[in-house]
């Protein structure tokens, strides 16, 4: 069981659900390692966005409000941080702000920047998973440590009926190491 293969299988599993739409930069075109996990997803399900992280994260919530299940992809933690206000102040607080009336199920996918064989230095690496767990009250934050963790995490994220969103963190280095 390989880390990359499990990610790809999980994306294809998600794509089988008509509610699911994938969004981000380099989802419909090459650009990151994550792009390769989507190459067999139908183009109509891939929304290629400009580099605008706050816009992307807010749109994620808006799509979820309207009944879609967006898979919002940020290639690394450092980029997702540009959208943290939307994640923490809105997606995470939606249910409590509306007395449980609004339920937004979104899947946010991000990664810990790869350090090998090329180390991109300070602003493209780092694991902020624990910090996000402390910030979030309703979003479940899952880090994918092993290949066997991957599919169950995405399956759970898609099928959950508790109104919660899921933030799933992967390791860039594991694409070639596990």
């Amino acid at each position: 069981m390989k880390y990359f293969d499990e990610l790809k299988r999980s994306m294809e599993f998600l794509a089988a659900d008509p509610r699911v739409v994938f969004m981000g930069q380099a989802v419909a075109v090459p650009g990151t390692a994550m792009s390769n996990t989507l190459k067999d997803v139908a183009p109509g399900r891939l929304i290629e966005l400009p580099v605008a992280e706050e816009l992307q994260m807010g749109m994620t919530t808006g799509l979820a409000l309207a009944g879609q299940v967006p898979v919002s992809i940020f290639p690394r933690w450092n980029f997702l941080m540009c959208g943290l206000s939307q994640l923490v102040n809105h997606l995470d607080k939606l249910a409590v702000m509306s007395n449980g009336g609004y339920k937004a199920k979104a899947i946010v996918r991000t990664g810990i920047g790869s350090e090998r064989p090329l180390h991109p230095q300070h602003q493209h690496v780092g694991d902020y998973t624990e910090a996000l767990r402390l910030m979030c009250k309703s979003i479940e934050v899952i880090r994918l440590d092993e290949p066997e963790d991957i599919f169950p995490a995405y399956e759970r994220a898609l099928l959950r009926d508790d109104g919660r969103s899921t933030l799933i963190v992967e390791y860039g280095d594991y694409y070639s190491e596990k």
Binding site: E54, G58, M59, G62, A64, L65, N89, H90, M97, G101
Partner: protein, 200 residues
């Protein structure tokens, strides 16, 4: 449909309750823009979504939330983030927070083909933020079913928007088109509260 007098009376009641120390949470009141708001809502349908800021009492009433229900939420301390799923209303206390969310909902409508539109309200300072420009540009360029309503009361808390940006004419000032509905008004209430210092 609520009349201008109904809106004024409602807000006056909120002000009175706040000044009497009965609302233990901040309130942000409208005044002076009743006619403009009623005009805006002539173009808002039952199935449409409305996204607002911390100041949203008028939108909730005009969208059809019963006044008693709005007042209950205000008394419960939720004036700055009123949400009514049945009427498709989402409000947020974060500057520019609802703008990209509104864009996402408009995108969902475009993808599904539902007969509905999105209406997103913001003040004039919010309209100058980067997220406002991104949200409007993306929506306009992708022809999404959304309209942005810019409400210019000339102030951001106590900051004069034009002076702070050193710009006499704001980015969307006087614009009226398919995507932008700008209007200007003056209010008798401060940014927060109802004009009297309240000792809690």
């Amino acid at each position: 449909m609520m009349t201008a007098q109904d809106l004024i009376a409602f807000e006056d009641e909120v002000a009175a309750r706040f000044n009497a120390g009965k609302i233990r949470a901040p309130v942000h009141l409208y005044s002076g823009n009743e006619a403009q708001m009623i005009e805006v809502f002539k173009g808002i349908g039952k199935n449409d979504w409305v996204f607002c800021s911390w100041r949203s009492h008028y939108q909730c009433l005009l969208k059809g939330v019963p006044p008693a229900a709005v007042m209950d939420e205000i008394m419960a301390g939720r004036s700055i983030s009123l949400c009514f799923p049945e009427q498709r209303i989402y409000s947020s206390a974060i500057v520019g927070g609802v703008l990209p969310i509104a864009v996402g909902t408009a995108l969902a409508i475009a993808r599904s083909g539902e007969d509905a539109r999105v209406h997103c309200f913001m003040g004039e300072m919010t309209a100058e933020t980067g997220i406002a420009h991104e949200s409007i540009k993306y929506s306009r360029n992708h022809r999404l079913p959304i309209r942005f309503v810019v409400e210019d009361n000339e102030k951001s808390v106590c900051t004069d928007t034009r002076a702070a940006w050193n710009q006499s004419k704001l980015s969307f000032e006087n614009q009226r088109d398919e995507y932008i509905h700008y209007y200007r008004y003056q209010t008798r209430y401060p940014h927060a509260g109802a004009g009297q210092r309240v000792q809690f």
